[in-house]
Symmetry: C2
Subunit: 227 residues, 2 copies
């Protein structure tokens, strides 16, 4: 069993929205850790050993404990380091928190990624799905943040939507979350991204933009070369 | 905030593997509840109001608390009624529990369903995926049960694979989990389904078989009528 004071390492890639969730949670908790950047085109033996099932980042290594899957890591962090709790205490509030976090993963992120990587009919279909999912997600916002007056677990899960939805939208020349159609989510992004600690946790916008633009171009080029 | 003694109702359908998870958890905990059978072709106003996001079963209603999504419901039940805990206590064991439960939902159930509802190339591809996922799942079995010597959270999550994998396999004339290729999972099914309390919680095998056979025939007929 790892103790709180055991060394914490995080395997990640700078661009990943899922890795960012974990970095933000560690920052909010004030946990020191060693960050190890992975090259996903040439995965390290440490990554392959630590996450043999998915071979993906993020992976948190805490003493001998190895945890993968960003949402599972967030709960592990919250249960291991109890300071600045991310999850509410009441079982029903916790259920609602898990419901919306799962909704973000299951319904919001995949169509946004598809919009980025496709065009034509496939892109239009995914865009419709993304917009419907984001409209539904607005219902989960009951205050300034998903967590109420302070940011909590769902806000960290939704950090994947904050600057990433802006960057990905800019790459394809659209807005996933605009102030008219999704006013609450739009305000949430403004509030969330203006918190210093959150702001400092993001990769640089321009670097993200260039990287996702290249990713889109590579995908479309690969698609056309297959046709 | 609902109290433990508040009335518990469960909206479900008899055939659903996801509803079964919740019924089994309630049974293991010794929680009395009213079961309300839903007709998914004619959903009740209570279902539509209680789960406006997905409009699906299971939905657990406990006093004024309404919880949907079977894995979220399981955690709610475990946190509200602490007797016979389903989750382990240690944060790392809990992380491993959540990892495998999520793996079952994300990787095992969908391809098995696709195998049931398709044929030809699509079915073959899904069968390959299902078998790979089940082989990986075997790694999560460290003892007689996923929970060790007694059944726990992952066993309940995996109940979706127990008699359902047998029934669905029989409908299409195959075995998803055979004793040679997946010896540990196969033993797990034998051990798990021989526990009286578990055995009693399953819908009748013949009724399940007839129902999934009809579901497959309906799907294939609809596919051919579209061609």
């Amino acid at each position: 069993m790892a103790k709180k004071e055991h060394k914490v390492r995080l395997l990640g890639t700078w661009r990943s929205r899922f890795v960012h969730r974990v970095r933000l949670a560690l920052k909010l908790k004030g946990i020191e850790y060693e960050y190890i950047e992975e090259d996903l085109k040439n995965k390290s033996p440490l990554l392959l050993e630590s996450n043999p099932v998915y071979k993906k980042v993020p992976v948190l290594i805490h003493g001998n404990n190895v945890v993968s899957e960003s949402m599972v890591i967030l709960e592990y962090i919250d249960e291991t380091w109890s300071e600045n709790p991310l999850m509410p205490q009441d079982p029903y509030d916790r259920a609602i928190t898990r419901f919306w976090s799962k909704f973000i993963d299951d319904k919001c992120l995949a169509p946004i990624r598809t919009v980025l990587l496709t065009d034509g009919e496939e892109q239009e279909k995914a865009m419709k799905e993304a917009k419907e999912a984001l409209k539904t997600l607005e219902r989960g916002l009951k205050g300034k943040f998903f967590g109420g007056e302070v940011i909590g677990f769902v806000d960290i899960a939704a950090s994947c939507l904050s600057i990433w939805s802006e960057v990905l939208g800019e790459v394809i020349g659209t807005k996933f979350i605009d102030s008219e159609k999704l006013p609450h989510l739009h305000s949430w992004i403004e509030e969330f991204t203006s918190i210093d600690l959150v702001k400092e946790s993001f990769p640089p916008y321009d670097k993200l933009f260039a990287s996702y633009k290249a990713l889109r171009e590579d995908h479309l080029a690969a698609k056309f070369s297959q046709n």
